[in-house]
């Protein structure tokens, strides 16, 4: 790759809110411009530009037309792939196949089918790669390569240069099971479909003979053929229902499966009896259609659940397989992750992900926490700060002392949290289940009554009417109404970066009328902004700002962000960071110091930032914490959704008042202790309000627990408490209103579903009991109502536009 050309194309600061052509992230001052396919585009970094150039030269430019999501940022970090050539890794994770060896990898950033397409093509063309296939749904890539022609690492270099980082595939067993299960379901559905179609055709022939002119042998021939087709459908495709009914009977808890299996088996065996004794009617068609349509509804619900699960997998994948441990005598050894223990010192190379939770040693390092928080910007950490497994170390290597390993890491906690929330059966669904249970008993008794009544009235139709009654009454729609909607809603929330820890929280969230913010850590971010400056000794303000900006240009220190907006063409040389004091360097031929008063200007330390030559002051800068970029927008959104916004902070009066004014919050209370915050929430609740509390989840656990519903904005802090009902995986505050919108839509859809299911049953039962519904119409109607409910729930999968 011609890096010189990219360097040459690097252009100076440009303004305007344009985004990178490759990854659609906002452009930084150092824009890279590269011409591909005759058009010049802007790129955020040399990595993205190189990826775009590679794609163009490989004739894969169609990627940009095909994709439905922007690519992930490539960056300029150098990723060490040497681990992929280690014998112990290869022995464990690869297997021999024809033409070479095969390995299954996981990757992040495969966001849509076009990414999978690009990976397929790019890898297949790498020298030495025999075959490659990528799956966008599971994020897995299967690569077959010839070890004699190329090491695996050089093949994977292609992936890295396109912005996809390879990870060892874990959970292969679970993936295998899921795939096998899905295939089994699919087979059942397909066979049921084919069988139902055939059986309907034969049944149609029998229905056309309404005047009974068909010779008896022909009729019986048709019946036996239908029997042949219907048997595998009822017993193979319909097996989940029969097994489910058996389970329910054994546990003495009647449910939906009992009713389905009873209806199907009754229809089937009654038909067999009629076929044997040559009776007037058979109902094979009703039995097979029932099975087929119910399987279809079930498959749809399953799909909704799987989409939600994909999020968990994305979280679980980001751990490296090996870690570099430093021994007491300073030697280094590479050990598998499972061998790490507490208090080990681990080295992390730049561009590698952190193997375990720990405390940063030595020097300031930036970590990219995108996986945990969803934010792409790297977070700068000082020595002593907590570092989390799964985050990526940027720019320079880091040393950490391990505090938590394996299942105790924050990443594992998050994964478990999502798992729990999904496995937990919500009270609403439990209620629906109980209702369905009583309903089933009532219906079975009703069916007996209908049968007896029709025996007296018209014995020839008794069986048929009972069958129609049973089939039409099945409360499947009722049982599906709530879980289907919740499953889809949780998937959508996960996409938004909001994870529910309690199943019933969604319902309460939808009812919230007030939102109380805790200022620290929720509405503000840790970034510093310039609030004002004073100059001394005749220095001019633009000049000192430019000098300060030049000094801080390449610094990782949080103070640097305060000067990031200042544009300057001065450059600082011989820049040196003095930990605890400030920064020193040569600008325009003169030595400057920026930092605390004593260090920079020889004055008494006053907690502010000074610029000087070490003896005389040139300027003093006042810095303050900034509110989050989206705080104002988030609060306006919440207000437009009809919520009253409150601020309840532990900070001093003037700071809180200024903050509230900036954000347009009228009701702001300062100097609030946790008890006072809780009292405020209680007071609101007593006046009949439903309170949503948004906190950072650490010091306001009691308030979070005391509020009706709570959201913890997890911003790098440990997920120690479980008091919150929702946890956001990123700092963006607009997610709160998005989650609220999803909750409200979910409530609406659940109501629609329940109303529909109840209305359908209430209407259809009398009709069936009166004998106006034939069994096959009953099967169709019942399944259509289940499908309606599920499809209605799937509408929740649309992510609201932010």
């Amino acid at each position: 790759m011609d890096t010189a050309a990219i360097e040459a194309a690097r252009v100076a600061v440009r303004d305007g809110a344009s985004t990178c052509f490759h990854c659609a992230e906002p452009l930084t001052p150092t824009v890279v411009q590269v011409e591909t396919a005759g058009v010049r585009h802007d790129y955020c970094c040399a990595g993205c530009a190189a990826a775009a150039q590679w794609i163009d030269q490989a004739n894969l430019g169609d990627y940009y037309q095909l994709r439905s999501q922007p690519a992930s940022r490539v960056g300029t970090d150098i990723v060490d792939l040497a681990v992929w050539d280690r014998d112990d890794v290869l022995d464990e994770h690869t297997r021999d196949v024809e033409g070479g060896r095969e390995i299954v990898l996981l990757t992040d950033g495969m966001r849509c089918a076009a990414c999978a397409w690009l990976i397929d093509r790019a890898l297949s063309r790498a020298p030495g790669v025999v075959e490659a296939s990528a799956n966008a749904i599971t994020g897995r890539i299967r690569v077959t390569w010839d070890p004699r022609r190329t090491p695996l690492s050089s093949a994977l270099q292609v992936l890295v240069s396109l912005g996809f980082r390879p990870y060892l595939a874990t959970g292969a067993g679970r993936e295998q099971l899921r795939r096998a299960g899905r295939n089994r379901e699919l087979l059942r559905l397909g066979l049921a479909g084919l069988g139902a179609m055939q059986a309907m055709m034969f049944a149609e022939a029998l229905y056309f003979d309404s005047t009974g002119q068909m010779p008896l042998p022909t009729r019986d021939f048709f019946r036996w053929v239908t029997f042949l087709v219907a048997t595998p459908v009822v017993f193979h495709a319909g097996w989940p229902f029969i097994a489910g009914a058996w389970r329910e009977l054994r546990h003495r808890r009647l449910g939906m499966d009992t009713l389905v299996a009873t209806s199907t088996l009754l229809a089937y065996f009654a038909s067999v009896a009629e076929t044997l004794r040559g009776g007037p009617h058979v109902w094979y068609d009703a039995a097979v259609m029932f099975v087929f349509l119910l399987l279809a509804a079930r498959m749809l619900e399953q799909r909704a659940r799987n989409t939600a699960n994909a999020q968990v997998d994305a979280l679980a994948r980001a751990r490296p397989a090996l870690a570099t441990r430093e021994l007491d005598d300073g030697r280094r050894e590479t050990v598998p992750l499972s061998a790490l223990a507490r208090d080990d010192v681990v080295l992390i190379a730049a561009g590698d992900s952190v193997p375990a939770d720990g405390v940063l040693l030595d020097c300031t390092v930036a970590f990219e926490e995108a996986l945990l928080t969803g934010e792409a910007d790297a977070v700068v950490k000082l020595p002593g700060a907590a570092v989390f497994a799964g985050t990526v170390c940027r720019e320079r290597p880091a040393r950490i002392r391990v505090t938590h390993v394996a299942g105790a890491t924050r990443l594992s906690q998050l994964v478990r949290l999502v798992d729990e929330a999904q496995a937990h059966r919500p009270p609403q669904a439990q209620l629906a289940d109980r209702v369905a249970g009583h309903f089933v008993i009532g219906l079975l008794l009703g069916a007996v009554a209908v049968y007896l009544a029709w025996r007296v009235h018209d014995p020839t139709r008794a069986l048929e009417v009972t069958l129609a009654f049973l089939v039409v009454s099945c409360p499947c729609a009722l049982s599906l109404a709530v879980p289907a909607a919740l499953a889809v809603a949780h998937g959508t929330l996960a996409k938004l970066g909001v994870l529910a820890t309690r199943a019933n929280a969604l319902e309460t969230l939808a009812r919230a009328t007030d939102v109380v913010f805790d200022k620290t850590g929720t509405l503000s971010d840790a970034r510093l902004v310039l609030d004002g400056s004073t100059t001394f000794n005749g220095a001019d303000i633009d000049g000192v700002l430019a000098i300060a900006a030049a000094l801080e240009r390449n610094s990782l220190h949080p103070i640097a962000s305060a000067f990031a907006q200042v544009s300057t063409d001065m450059t600082a040389r011989e820049v040196e960071e003095r930990p605890g004091l400030g920064i020193e360097g040569r600008v325009d031929g003169k030595r400057w110091r920026l930092g605390q008063a004593a260090f920079a200007a020889g004055e008494l330390d006053d907690g502010q930032l000074w610029l000087g030559d070490g003896l005389r002051a040139a300027a003093r800068f006042r810095l303050r914490e900034s509110e989050r970029a989206d705080a104002r927008a988030a609060i306006d959104l919440l207000k437009s959704q009809g919520l009253d916004v409150h601020l309840s902070s532990g900070d001093a009066e003037p700071a809180v008042a200024g903050f509230a004014r900036n954000l347009g919050i009228v009701d702001a209370l300062a100097r609030q202790s946790p008890e006072a915050k809780l009292a405020r929430v209680r007071q609101l609740q007593e006046s009949g309000r439903v309170v949503l509390m948004v906190g950072d989840g650490l010091n306001d656990a009691p308030v979070l627990a005391g509020a009706d519903v709570s959201i913890a904005v997890a911003d790098g802090t440990a997920l120690a408490q479980r008091a919150a009902d929702f946890v956001t995986t990123g700092a963006s505050l607009t997610r709160i209103s998005a989650a609220l919108a999803v909750a409200r839509r979910t409530r609406r859809i659940i109501r629609q579903n329940l109303a529909w299911a109840l209305a359908y049953n209430a209407l259809a039962l009398p009709l069936a009991a009166a004998g106006w519904v034939t069994p096959w119409i009953a099967a169709l109607g019942m399944a259509l109502s289940s499908l309606t409910v599920t499809l209605n729930a799937l509408r929740l999968a649309r992510v609201p536009v932010r």
């Binding site: 990528a134 749904i137 397909g190």
Partner: protein, 58 residues
């Protein structure tokens, strides 16, 4: 009506073939990824084009 004796077994045979084909397709992983292959046919595969520049670019 004797034609039925031929036509109906024939239709059963066809169902059998369809069921077998479907089973094979599921087992062979034809339904594993329903999104990527849809894109494949939209683009001309130019990997055999003269002077495959992908290799030079590495």
């Amino acid at each position: 009506m004797t034609i039925l004796l031929l036509l109906i077994p024939l239709s059963l045979l066809l169902v059998g073939v369809a069921a077998w084909a479907f089973t094979w397709a599921v087992r062979a992983g034809q339904f594993d990824d329903l999104d990527t292959p849809a894109l494949d046919m939209l683009s001309e595969d130019r990997s055999d084009a003269p002077g495959n520049k992908a290799d030079d670019a590495d």
